[in-house]
């Protein structure tokens, strides 16, 4: 019975496909998948905006949105209807294009942003037998389309002919290019150990249980380091605090989308959140076992429930970090990735190799953990050098 519940969407799709003539089946199958992605993830985006505002409010000791519920009724739903007026507002706002702007590029930028972000969902496995395409090189596909986001950011920033936009775009590209390297290098460890770029194969590799605990990659020394590196890099890739320099509102207004209003602004907002969900989904797939259960006695819970539970848990951590940490400075941002994350990611690749070739007993745990801990200590010390962290002295504001 639980198996049927797990496969309910797959069965439903097969049922629908039964009514379609064979020649049309590939097209209809693709259409169903596209419509599902276009419905599920923007809805998730709408809910997450409310959760984020309420969560930030709670963490900062204020209320957040708590009034809007279902329109024309007295049901408030703790404010979870807030995204409806927000959406209507952004749809009805005037679309302002600066006179000096490069009209065509300015118009295309938000559209170009949505394309790679949406394409990234094509390879993510949302549940058992629930990935849309099963590319051999799924991981490579994900990173390839992710790289195209930078181009849209540049288009937005450059075409606005506004110094804040251009500064924001330059910051965004520098940050994305820099953090893409630890992101990919930390994912390489998984590819090395699994021996496949296929995301379904990566999940199948983690779907075993010893003493009732799953073989998720995060439960190994290299996997833990890889996951932490991936997590930090994905924070930076999705321009979230503390890496939100590209849109630092107290410095450069809104960064590369300063000159966007109305629905184009909403598209950037949507693109950013969908990109965030996609990259979290990839992190879950690589290190947190994808749709598998962490313990063997909970495997009866449907796989898609596990996927979205993990997704929302990490989104919550993202919100938590946003409420907690201040923004980094540009040099701190660059120092952190080039002098700390990149060397650690390279050493982690070495450790993954050692892990792969050593016998599976306690010795490899010891050796791998020792290398990682030593590298972490040395690199951390190197990063802290010449920084002179200490009690802050206020010279001019006594």
């Amino acid at each position: 019975m639980f198996d049927q519940l797990d496969q309910i969407f797959v069965t439903l799709k097969h049922l629908v496909m039964g009514f379609v003539p064979a020649a049309w089946q590939p097209l209809v199958s693709a259409l169903i998948a596209i419509v599902l992605i276009l419905v599920v993830f923007p809805t998730l985006f709408a809910l997450v905006t409310v959760i984020e505002r309420k969560g930030l409010g709670r963490m900062q000791n204020r209320y957040g949105p708590n009034r809007v519920g279902i329109p024309f009724t007295k049901i408030r739903l703790c404010g979870f209807g807030q995204f409806i007026p927000d959406g209507i507002k952004s749809l009805t706002k005037e679309d302002i294009v600066p006179r000096a702007a490069d009209k065509v590029v300015h118009f295309l930028a938000p559209v170009v942003m949505m394309v790679p972000v949406m394409l990234a969902y094509a390879v993510l496995p949302f549940g058992k037998n629930m990935s849309i395409t099963d590319y051999d090189a799924g991981l490579l596909f994900f990173f390839a389309v992710g790289g195209a986001v930078e181009l849209s950011v540049f288009m937005a920033g450059w075409s606005s002919r506004n110094k804040y936009s251009l500064l924001g775009a330059m910051r965004a590209i520098a940050q994305m290019v820099s953090y893409e390297i630890p992101l990919i290098l930390s994912a390489v460890t998984v590819v090395m150990v699994v021996g496949s770029l296929n995301l379904n194969a990566i999940i199948a590799h983690q779907n075993h249980y010893t003493f009732g605990i799953a073989h998720w990659h995060v439960f190994t020394p290299w996997g833990l380091v890889g996951f932490i590196l991936f997590f930090i890099a994905s924070l930076a890739e999705s321009n979230r605090t503390p890496f939100d320099l590209p849109e630092a509102e107290s410095e450069i207004i809104a960064g590369y989308f300063t000159e966007y209003s109305g629905f184009k602004f909403a598209l950037f907002f949507l693109g950013e959140y969908l990109g965030m969900f996609a990259i979290i989904g990839l992190g879950i797939t690589l290190f947190l076992g994808g749709w598998t259960s962490p313990v063997s006695f909970l495997t009866w819970i449907p796989s898609y429930v596990w996927f979205f539970t993990k997704l929302m848990a990490i989104v919550f951590v993202f919100i938590w970090i946003r409420a907690t940490l201040p923004r980094l400075r540009m040099d701190q941002l660059m120092n952190f990735t080039w002098k700390f994350m990149l060397p650690l990611a390279l050493i982690n690749i070495l450790v993954a190799g050692i892990w792969h070739y050593m016998a599976a007993d306690w010795q490899r745990w010891l050796v791998c953990s020792a290398i990682i801990f030593g590298a972490y200590a040395i690199l951390g010390r190197g990063l802290m050098q010449n920084q002179n962290f200490g009690k802050r002295i206020y010279r001019y504001a006594e």
Partner: protein, 174 residues
């Protein structure tokens, strides 16, 4: 010829043509990115997934961004006043077909090109990986070493500059 091939071919050619003929350099880069994506789509139609994705990853994600950065760092953001196309655009319309014709004639009549094509090889990602790890392992190792050395070298250069920099007067406890 499938309609997909014709569409991607036209898009690729248009992108390449605009990349050469537009006056604004940034527009040229964007047109070139379109051409690169088109080439990647052509690779995908040939079932060469690895090459197709690598094309997007390297050319759209890295090379185009690199060129954009080079343009932004070297030029002012002024828009060109005159026409959209470069002055030489129309001569190229005549020259390029002639050039293409000569090349096509040369290739078709060359003895180096086999006339009857062998059956299309199966190039899965696994095949590519196997080939890289067995037949082409030495080039792969050398390229890997060079790239890693370049990356670490860049970091070391950045490290040196930081320690030689005179300490600033204000900011924190000195």
């Amino acid at each position: 010829m499938s309609p997909f091939f014709i569409i991607t071919g036209i898009v690729t050619l248009l992108g390449a043509a605009f990349a050469m003929s537009l006056r604004n350099l940034v527009h040229c880069v964007l047109a070139m990115a379109v051409a690169f994506s088109g080439i990647a789509a052509l690779y995908l139609q040939l079932d060469a997934q690895f090459v197709g994705f690598a094309e997007i990853l390297v050319y759209v994600g890295a090379i185009a961004i690199l060129i954009v950065f080079a343009i932004l760092l070297t030029r002012s953001g002024k828009a060109p006043e005159k026409s959209v196309l470069t002055s030489g655009a129309w001569t190229s319309v005549i020259l390029i077909p002639v050039f293409f014709g000569v090349l096509a004639w040369a290739i078709l009549h060359s003895s180096a090109v086999p006339k009857d094509l062998p059956p299309a090889p199966v190039a899965t990602v696994k095949n590519v990986g196997d080939a890289l790890m067995t037949k082409f392992v030495l080039p792969l190792e050398i390229i890997g070493l060079v790239l890693t050395a370049a990356m670490i070298g860049a970091v070391i250069i950045a490290l040196k500059e930081d320690s030689q920099k005179p300490k600033s007067e204000d900011g924190g406890q000195q």
